[in-house]
């Protein structure tokens, strides 16, 4: 199954973990698999997945589409559609191995694409976002699992460590790895609903439930997003895409939108800061993510962890030299790294950021990084 089994909001609990080498050096999947495996009791075998950045250096300027199909005919449908919009530089079946616990899998395929037929006034990225949203909403039996450059999402129905073996992740190296083990409250797993959720370069693994889902989704819909999957993660990813890529808000302010400080706190700030935060919250009040959550989100340059403003879900952060770790549980980090320099539990709504050293947007987020690590 690719798409939601019920026409209702998807509810699940989870384990999340993210590892990043901020020098941009690739490393294998062993650490991430061991870390997520350590939190096996937080998932129930109905969803697991990974995002890996830096895995396709040979196609690093092309959009890498990881696709899931119900069957080969749907693949032909989707490929016809893709060909109208993109130039397909390369495509292949995503290599998988036989794993006993994973009996049924969709047809999995990947494409390396450059944009060909976009409307003149639309940005290339907007075009890709809209195409992905279109496919997921309208092409039956086809699902875009990821669409960023030099990255990919590997996910499905199963325990994460089994999903890793299924996708042969031992054959990949990345400088950012995210992983997720899922515990949906309903009994049916569906491949598209596993995490990470991805749009363009953004991938999200999410633990929690947005009690504000309806408010958030209806706001995002005004900006052209279609929240088809009824998952909170999708809302988180679209929110980040809107605020960071399209509205170009610096990360520290994005955090103040999704985990807004209380009005009481804002009222007591210095006038200048108060003005900014007041207008920010007035403007984006519908993107306050309300309810228990912690999530890790990554793009090419950074890996960010954040919890809701009253910290109803756990999150922990640690580093050693140029390795950064964010996880639901400390045990998961300790399993794979014995020598940890600093371990921090971030305050509610306070983002923790691991930033690629070579990135030119580093200065924008340094203040929030300090805030988090102090």
């Amino acid at each position: 199954m690719l798409k939601p089994p019920y026409a209702e909001k998807d509810i699940s609990g989870c384990a999340v973990v993210g590892i990043m080498n901020i020098s941009g050096n690739n490393f294998g999947s062993e650490k991430i698999v061991n870390a997520i495996k350590c939190m096996r009791d937080r998932s129930n075998g109905l969803g697991g997945g990974f995002a890996a950045y830096g895995i396709y250096p040979e196609h690093k300027d092309l959009y890498a589409f990881h696709m899931m199909y119900l069957d080969t005919n749907r693949r032909y449908d989707a490929e016809d559609f893709l060909k109208k919009k993109f130039n397909i530089a390369a495509s292949e079946r995503i290599p998988t191995a036989k794993v006993n616990s994973i009996s049924e899998s969709p047809v999995l395929w990947r494409y390396f694409l450059s944009v060909e037929n976009k409307p003149p006034l639309m940005s290339e990225e907007d075009f890709v976002v809209q195409t992905v949203i279109y496919i997921n909403a309208n092409i039956d039996g086809a699902f875009v699992a990821s669409s960023g450059k030099n990255m990919g999402v590997f996910k499905g129905v199963g325990y994460p460590e089994d999903i890793a073996r299924f996708y042969k992740l031992q054959d990949y190296e990345a400088y950012i790895w995210l992983s997720h083990g899922r515990f949906p409250t309903n009994t049916v797993g569906w491949w598209g609903g596993a995490h990470p959720f991805n749009i363009l370069d953004w991938s999200v693994v999410h633990n929690g439930e947005l009690s504000s889902y309806g408010t958030n989704a209806r706001y995002l819909e005004m900006y052209g997003y279609k929240c088809e999957l009824m998952t909170d993660t999708e809302v988180v990813a679209y929110t980040m895409d809107l605020l960071m890529r399209r509205h170009k808000l610096p990360l520290n302010l994005v955090a103040k939108v999704i985990a807004a400080p209380l009005w009481k706190e804002i009222d007591n700030l210095e006038p200048k800061e108060r003005r900014i935060l007041t207008r920010l919250r007035q403007t984006y009040s519908s993107l306050l993510l309300n309810g228990p959550f912690s999530f890790i989100i990554a793009n090419q340059d950074q890996m960010i962890g954040i919890t809701d403003r009253i910290r109803l879900r756990p999150l922990i952060y640690a580093s050693n030299k140029d390795m950064f770790y964010i996880s639901t549980e400390e045990a998961a980090i300790r399993t794979i790294e014995s020598d940890l320099k600093n371990i921090k539990i971030p305050r509610g709504g306070e983002p923790v950021v691991a930033q690629l050293l070579t990135s030119d947007i580093r200065h924008q987020t340094s203040s929030s990084r300090e805030g988090a690590t102090n």
């Binding site: 309806g214 408010t215 209380l262 900014i276 403007t283 309300n290 309810g291 228990p292």
Partner: protein
């Protein structure tokens, strides 16, 4: 002419009566008289309106009002009220008038909507221990904020700011003019709005000099008669509301009879004492949407673009399209008044038969504005028949930013919904300008009662939010996923944008 209409109520006085005559003096409808000869109080049942003034004040609780049990021959079509309306018109030859709102047995959608709460997967929040935020800002919201980094790497906002009005609780007091209600009632509304950080609305009757000091918490209304409108008035409040229509009487003007226009009212309305104040049905400078846009901007010019402009319309059949036009005409707030909205006086046929339910109207308007991506252009205020905190919550979850309450506010200060506001004889000193009656409303007590009501509702809203696992009211706005319908048709559910309970 002898009336054929049987009396509706019977006044009974028992033998505990001590003949203090409080009831006789208090009955403003002259339904009670005292006969000195036999020292007996005689009720004139025909005149009783069941306003409860006597029963409430009777020191020995010896006076009571019951329904007249008289029956007509059973008939499901020619019911008592139908027959009696015909009698009344045959006897008067006039249009039937009523006060308050539509009292007919139409479905109450609020009562067929149930709320969600959190269990296991998302924790509920205890409002006694955790912060719970009800603050709401009215006004246009930019579609995005743009920042610029300055030399000293400080951030400033590039996007032009729009005026915003802060509400500490999303409940405002609806337009009720000075004249339609008494000065004491007005003052109590103003004081309560100030205390709770919300707004009250002058209605179309100007603003009394002594109430200018509540300006920050005031919405000044501009209606079709333009009574009391001048430059200082427009700039006195935080919001200027153009009243196009009213839920209780869409498409109908207003009429404040000359007897109510005493010296004070004449001053605030700027009309001679004793003249009828007739508000035309339409604004005679608004015959089209572009005319409305011109008035919106004329008001913005006159208020230096510092005040919000609200446009209030009655919830009529194509309310969504009209609201969309208003949002494009430059208004900052669209106020929708549902068919249960109250009035001081309206033709009964209009009150009882025109308009649509506020629940449907809000859902449809919010949907339309979102579909057209102009929901950020305006705040949406729901009005008309909000009875309790749960109605507030449901209205917001259906898509409103805030609500107005009128009838509930009056009930809190003594109104018993006797529907006789248009007579000027309100026994509770609310809907009257007769000084003898108006002084019955103690401004201090009225203020306390109103204030308690707002406090109680705000606390209950926090309680409901906490149960839903939310700690800010903004996360409820248009969050229809937290609502479920019971006993509604598929079409009704679709328009409300909610699911059937169990689904």
């Amino acid at each position: 002419m002898k009336t054929y209409i049987p009396h509706k109520f019977e006044v009974n006085i028992n033998d505990k009566c001590i003949k203090c005559l409080v009831c006789v003096k208090q009955c403003s409808f002259s339904a009670l008289s005292f006969d000195e000869d036999d020292a007996t109080i005689y009720p004139d049942n025909n005149k009783c309106v069941a306003c409860h003034r006597c029963t409430t004040l009777c020191p020995t609780k010896s006076i009571n009002i019951v329904k007249n049990p008289i029956v007509y021959h059973p008939n499901e079509y020619w019911k008592a009220n139908v027959i009696e309306d015909i009698y009344k018109q045959a006897e008067t030859g006039g249009i039937l008038l009523s006060g308050t709102g539509n009292d007919k047995d139409y479905p109450v959608y609020f009562d067929r909507i149930l709320l969600d709460a959190s269990q296991v997967t998302n924790p509920s929040i205890d409002p006694l221990r955790e912060p719970m935020e009800l603050r709401t800002y009215l006004g246009k919201k930019s579609d995005r904020l743009q920042f610029k980094e300055n030399k000293k790497s400080t951030t400033t906002i590039k996007t032009k700011s729009e005026p915003q009005v802060k509400l500490e609780t999303p409940i405002m007091f609806a337009a009720m003019s000075l004249g339609a209600i008494s000065y004491n009632a007005h003052q109590a509304l103003a004081r309560t709005a100030e205390e709770h950080g919300t707004l009250y609305n002058t209605g179309e009757g100007g603003l009394h000099k002594s109430l200018y000091k509540y300006g920050k918490n005031t919405i000044v209304q501009v209606a079709s008669g333009r009574y009391g409108v001048h430059h200082e008035y427009l700039n006195a409040g935080s919001v200027v509301e153009i009243k196009i229509g009213q839920g209780a009487k869409p498409g109908i003007g207003g009429h404040l009879p000359g007897e109510k226009i005493n010296a004070e009212i004449s001053q605030t309305r700027m009309i001679p004492e004793g003249t009828d104040a007739l508000s035309p049905a339409p604004h005679h400078d608004i015959y089209s949407i572009e005319d409305l846009a011109q008035l919106v901007y004329a008001i913005k010019e006159a208020t230096f673009y510092k005040k919000l402009v609200s446009v209030k319309i009655a919830a009529v059949h194509n309310v969504a399209a009209i609201a969309s036009g208003i949002a494009r005409a430059g208004a900052d707030i669209v106020t929708i008044d549902g068919f249960r909205g109250g009035t001081g006086a309206a033709p009964t046929v209009i009150r009882d038969n025109v308009g649509i339910p506020i629940e449907m109207a809000i859902a449809a308007v919010d949907d339309r504005l979102r579909k057209e991506s102009i929901r950020n252009n305006v705040s949406l205020v729901a009005s008309g028949g909000i009875r309790n905190s749960v109605d507030v919550v449901k209205a917001i979850a259906l898509g409103a930013d805030a609500v107005y309450i009128g009838t509930s506010a009056l009930i809190s200060i003594g109104c018993t919904m006797c529907q006789k506001c248009y007579t000027g004889k309100c026994a509770w000193g609310i809907a009257t300008t007769n000084p003898q009656l108006a002084k019955r409303l103690n401004p201090e007590i009225a203020y306390k009662r109103l204030s308690n009501l707002l406090r109680a509702w705000s606390l209950e809203i926090k309680e409901i939010l906490g149960a839903m696992g939310l700690n800010a009211i903004e996360s409820l706005k248009s969050n229809r996923l937290r609502l479920r319908g019971v006993g509604l048709s598929a079409e009704e559910l679709k328009i409300l944008g909610i699911k059937q309970a169990g689904g």
